[in-house]
């Protein structure tokens, strides 16, 4: 193959097409980067603007005199510390619960042959199609009957299982050679021990991917906490942000400051686990 291309395209011609391609595509890339990235820059500039600048719409393109106090004020004006704590409790609990329920179910579906296995797997995956809003009303009634509205129970338990996680672990466990499990069974380990001591440690990439994606989804989630909480003491950060908008609708510099700081944890997680996040999304696309 290499010979063919080098014969049909001698050196100088090739480098000229390279240069043509560069000038054709790099401006497009710059345009796309500006289009997708500029709103972020503008939000940060807005969050550092003075009250006059933001109300007259004359945001400086460069931070000439940044008003860092906007961040402190946005944090203090509402009960954000409490909301961050609530969101952390909800997100961590849901993430841990999903990792446990998904790895157990994924293990059984991948490694134990039993009647109805395929139907059960389809039954799980089908849940991914239906919008949460379709089933939200009955769950709300259920939560109200249990007196769980405005408690962590309502924020955590309905999302403690996720078919995406089951799918992810099942695919991962299917790739592990059978000999491993036979060897551990011969050593006298029961399936419970085989799962947690042998398989689960091997599935660390799946665990990292699921944890990151679930945590980010929970941190950003709105509809479920919006329906299932009533008082500000149970609000999550996203609800807090909406409440903040309600009170300070046009104080956009503070609103943008709040928007920036509640997005920071997600970006930190993305920078730490970029590969796992992107691969997790890509896997569902190529293997799903």
């Amino acid at each position: 193959m290499v010979e063919v291309t080098s014969v049909s395209k001698p050196g100088p011609v090739f480098s000229r097409t390279r240069r043509v391609k560069f000038w054709r595509y790099v401006p497009l890339m710059v345009l796309a980067i500006l289009g997708f990235g500029f709103p972020f820059y503008w939000i940060i500039m807005g969050s550092l603007s003075s009250n006059t600048a933001i109300s007259t719409g004359s945001i400086p393109l460069f931070p000439i005199s940044p008003h860092w106090a906007n961040y402190r004020n946005a944090w203090l004006y509402t009960n954000f510390a409490r909301q961050v704590l609530n969101t952390l409790v909800m997100s961590v609990a849901v993430t841990v619960a999903q990792v446990i329920t998904s790895s157990m179910a994924g293990f059984a579906l991948a490694r134990i042959r039993f009647p109805g296995r395929q139907a059960l797997f389809v039954g799980f995956v089908a849940t991914l199609i239906i919008p949460f809003q379709v089933i939200a009303l009955p769950i709300f009634v259920l939560m109200a009957n249990l007196h769980w509205i405005n408690t962590f129970g309502a924020l955590i338990v309905p999302t403690a299982v996720n078919a995406f996680g089951i799918f992810l672990y099942r695919q991962f466990f299917l790739t592990i050679p059978e000999a491993l499990e036979e060897a551990s069974m011969l050593d006298g380990a029961n399936p419970w021990q085989v799962l947690w001591r042998v398989y689960w440690p091997l599935a660390r990439p799946a665990t990292v991917t699921l944890s990151l994606l679930t945590f980010i989804a929970e941190w950003n989630s709105f509809y479920l906490p919006f329906l299932f909480t009533e008082t500000k003491t149970m609000y999550t950060v996203q609800l807090g942000l909406v409440a903040f908008q309600g009170e300070f609708a046009t104080v956009y510099n503070l609103l943008m400051a709040a928007t920036v700081f509640i997005s920071i944890p997600v970006f930190i997680l993305y920078l730490l686990g970029q590969r796992a996040i992107v691969e997790g999304i890509a896997t569902t696309g190529t293997k799903g």
Binding site: L120, V134, V141, L142, P158, T283
Partner: protein, 293 residues
């Protein structure tokens, strides 16, 4: 794979948490919503009276119903097609061995990471009069004023925000698809005279991305039908209901109007639409697969 019967008990144990939770928080609510859609209930009283399809009739008879369907169709088509097309364009660009490609990947994926609430609020500010878009369009002599307050621009503006947020996600899916195309195919194509970019894309890349497109279309349809928070924070369904979509209407019926029977009928409608579309897509794409192979 171990198939001995004594392991069935273990399988049941491992599956119990997931099965119980899925049954209680998915299949039971599904059944309940279907049951509720043929009953009348105000959300409070203990009485839920059987009404047959009356709630569906009431739903369809509401003067706003036609508008809700129109908004939903416009929103779904208006978000799915551009965000897939732009996502594919971004993937094709970011797949080239050119400088800036990692920056392009990172920046265009970043909007997907922020919540719809944050992104929605930021776009409300950027679309306000004196905001970013007012300045940008002012260059062309257009002063649209407050984009979310105008019934003629509100839906388009929400769609624009949604597309900005989802295109990078589609790029990631398409990039994964592009990496599965063997390079030899392009080289073989070059020998046959397929050299210019568009012909290569049309005859090699696009057909080879069929599986990616299948998944991308389904997942974008599912996401778009679910879009609630962006609409809630940006427009509250307004102005004059111009951004009220089906999911927003369901919430409004149940929690604002206390009309749970109608909300259940609307939920059932959404369920049917999503199921029909998904099954239709699966059948369409698998049929194609049989025809090609």
């Amino acid at each position: 794979m171990v198939g001995r019967r004594r392991l069935w008990g273990w399988a049941a144990l491992f599956l119990a948490p997931a099965v119980i939770l899925t049954a209680v928080f998915f299949y039971y609510p599904m059944g309940y919503i279907l049951w509720l859609s043929v009953h009348h209930w105000n959300g409070l009283s203990p009485i839920k009276s059987f009404t047959g399809f009356a709630e569906f009739h009431h739903l369809v008879d509401e003067s706003i119903f036609g508008l809700v369907i129109r908004n939903t169709v416009l929103f779904v088509i208006g978000t799915v097609i551009p965000s897939i097309a732009i996502g594919l364009g971004l993937a094709l660009l970011a797949n080239r061995p050119l400088p800036l490609r990692n920056l392009l990947r990172g920046i265009s994926f970043a909007p997907y990471l922020v919540s719809f609430v944050s992104a929605g609020l930021a776009w409300v500010w950027m679309g306000s009069s004196g905001g970013l878009f007012d300045h940008l369009l002012g260059v062309f002599g257009v002063h649209p004023g407050n984009l979310v307050d105008d019934p003629s621009t509100a839906l388009i503006y929400v769609i624009a925000m949604y597309t900005w947020k989802m295109a990078g996600y589609n790029m990631v899916l398409y990039l994964a698809g592009l990496q599965t195309i063997p390079h030899e195919i392009y080289e073989a194509g070059a020998i046959d005279g397929l050299k210019d970019g568009w012909t290569q894309f049309r005859t090699i890349t696009w057909p080879m991305l069929r599986n990616s497109t299948f998944f991308v279309v389904i997942i974008n349809l599912i996401f778009s039908f679910r879009a609630f928070s962006a609409i809630y924070v940006m427009t509250n369904g307004g102005p004059v209901n111009s951004t009220t979509t089906l999911v927003y209407y369901i919430w409004n019926l149940a929690f604002v109007q206390n009309s749970w029977g109608q909300a259940a009928a609307a939920s059932t409608l959404l369920l049917i639409v999503v199921l029909v579309l998904t099954v239709g897509m699966v059948r369409y794409f698998t049929k194609e697969a049989f025809r090609i192979s």
